[in-house]
Point group: C2
Chain length 377, copies 2
């Protein structure tokens, strides 16, 4: 470094020029990714290649170190580039077989939030869409009668009614599928009202996600493996991660994954609103953990109470979950009131055992997320 | 794209070459950042320049769009580069005045987790360190007598004892400061046992953070503005974000920021461990929100129960917080048990009002974080 550094505007202009170069190279990189997509499609290869990803990250990490660059940050940058690259490949249909058939897909509730996601997903894969909603002249029964695939994507409260209305119109060689957050009842209803193929799905993400890459979807087979395989292949081609299970296991896991998670966020938000300390008075003191909880809670309450109400009120295990939660509140509060540090430490030990090996992953991932929170706050 | 794409290994080698170019440019960029640091130090400028950052992000975002690149991902990449750049400037002492005095700083508890962070921070700024801990031959009283600044960084349970032991040895022209998570009691004790300058601080981050850039620290002035200004300047020079307040306001905010946040995580973890569903059975069904809660909980229980026990047991408002939380559990559980969707929706309305304008920020930030979770899962 010179004793008299060049003036700030000069150096900044030089940085701007370098950043243009960075962007140009990224654009060239994206053009090459398009070639990768075409190659993978021609040769029936998957978009995601774990060993290539690992090797790429290891190599960039090492080179960053050699150049004296902060290697963790650089790794994050290449993770971002890789994800954009996968999304680009998916949009170019890299995982869609060259000879894939194009189907007519009726989406009942196609103007709703998940309905629009389904429409985009199947549209991207080159299928013809028939969107039905309360404001379309096309009626559900009409669409169901001509479609190869009928997707029921309506609020959970009317799912049963809609299934029973459209089910009898689905062609025997067609597929009836749903996207409801519970799986036992809708699958049962679908199998009852049609002899067509039946698949239950649960996309575990909301309509506000930026990309479908890596988002999770649960698939429960009802009747007919050929269509179930087609559903799995279609979701995978758009970058979704698939969990196959049966309806009972799905609904039991959701009593924790959805009911407990949402319930505690609701309790947290309600408590905050009742403590009498305005939010603005606490914001100058935010720690990353507090800010994270605030983001999660505020996001939750900005969403549709009808959706969450149904999810929690319809799960048969909700009362068990809320009662276990209440007992835990009582027990932890009691330890704190007694000032019993020994009992408090035992509690930590017990829960640590429950988390087991997952803790290592949690530490790494949460450190990364805290970094991102701090960097953007 | 050609009809017959080039073979995958060829295209991948071309991508590797482009990535080398990216890394080379980033290294050149970092060298320019060093010039920026030198210029800022000579001219007494701050590291952080909000208008330059805004303009840079706007410009890169726009150029990314022009090049057909995914502009949100590209913006994330430049945010990462900017933060690395700020951290590099801080390490080069960009915000430390050219004529800054070098002091002798005694850190009581210097081998502890926060003690080591303080040692690194003051060491980076060019001061001489005297580290005292239970395993050093140097005793706290000896170090306190010769130091310009005495930092008490010991477990909360012994903070009062240590303050009363070293306080009388601190020189009248020196500074006594602490880093405890509560502020009323330690400040009171420090003002009582010494007539030297006194500053209370609370670093709102743990020792595991990757960088100090943007982390928050609370400062409560006790006695002597000159030293308090020096503390604030030193923290700012290392990239910390400073909140100045008084001890009472700090402790009240912490009843929410720390006590409520940690309490609910403890209740969540305990409930999970008691529900009888092994973690592994739920992991194939993780949504981003559930995974986020799991990361936060597993991270929490991997940490020191003595630290959290003290924070929660010593806050005078803990009983109010846990009892409000228990009441909320009861109320939400009751609404769910009754299946009262109208009451559930009113609850959402109430809490939404509490979050107010913050919701917009929360939606943006949480979407970003969910993207990062999905990208790494």
């Amino acid at each position: 470094m010179a004793d008299t550094p060049r003036p700030l505007p000069v150096v900044r202009a030089m940085i701007d020029a370098l950043d243009r170069d960075l962007l140009q190279i990224m654009a060239k990189r994206m053009a090459l990714v398009a070639e990768v997509a075409a190659y993978k499609r021609q040769h029936g290869l998957k978009i995601r290649d774990a060993s290539r990803e690992r090797e790429l990250l290891r190599d960039r990490h090492e080179h960053a170190k050699e150049l004296g660059l902060p290697s963790d940050e650089i790794e994050s940058i290449f993770r971002l580039l890789m994800r954009s690259s996968r999304d680009h490949q998916a949009a170019l249909r890299a995982e869609v077989p060259m000879d894939a058939a194009s189907y007519t897909i009726a989406i009942i509730g196609g103007h709703g939030r998940i309905g629009r996601v389904m429409a985009r997903l199947f549209g991207d894969l080159g299928h013809r869409l028939l969107l039905v909603d309360t404001d379309t002249t096309l009626r559900a029964e009409e669409a169901a009668a001509v479609a190869d695939v009928v997707v029921v994507s309506v609020p959970i409260d009317v799912t049963d009614t809609v299934i029973r209305a459209v089910g009898p119109h689905v062609r025997e060689d067609a597929l009836l599928m749903d996207v409801t957050s519970v799986k036992e009842a809708p699958l049962h209803a679908m199998l009852e009202v049609t002899s067509a193929s039946v698949v239950g799905t649960h996309p575990m993400f909301g309509p506000s996600v930026h990309t479908l890459q890596g988002q999770r979807v649960v698939i429960c087979r009802g009747r007919g493996d050929a269509w179930a395989d087609w559903v799995a292949q279609s979701f995978a081609a758009r970058g979704l991660v698939i969990t196959e299970t049966n309806a009972t296991q799905h609904d039991r896991a959701m009593s924790v994954v959805q009911v407990l998670t949402h319930f505690q966020t609701q309790v947290q938000g309600l408590t905050l609103s009742r403590l009498g300390l305005p939010l603005a008075e606490t914001l100058p003191f935010t720690s990353p953990a507090y800010l994270l909880e605030l983001y999660v809670a505020a996001r939750h309450f900005a969403q549709d109470p009808a959706l969450y109400g149904s999810i929690e009120m319809r799960n048969p295990r909700t009362a068990d979950v809320t009662s276990a939660f209440g007992q835990s509140v009582h027990d932890v509060a009691d330890i704190l009131a007694r000032g019993d540090q020994a009992a408090f430490s035992r509690l930590f030990e017990d829960v640590r055992l429950f988390f087991g090996d997952f803790t290592a992953e949690a530490l790494e991932q949460s450190s990364f997320l805290i970094d991102r929170i701090v960097e953007r706050a």
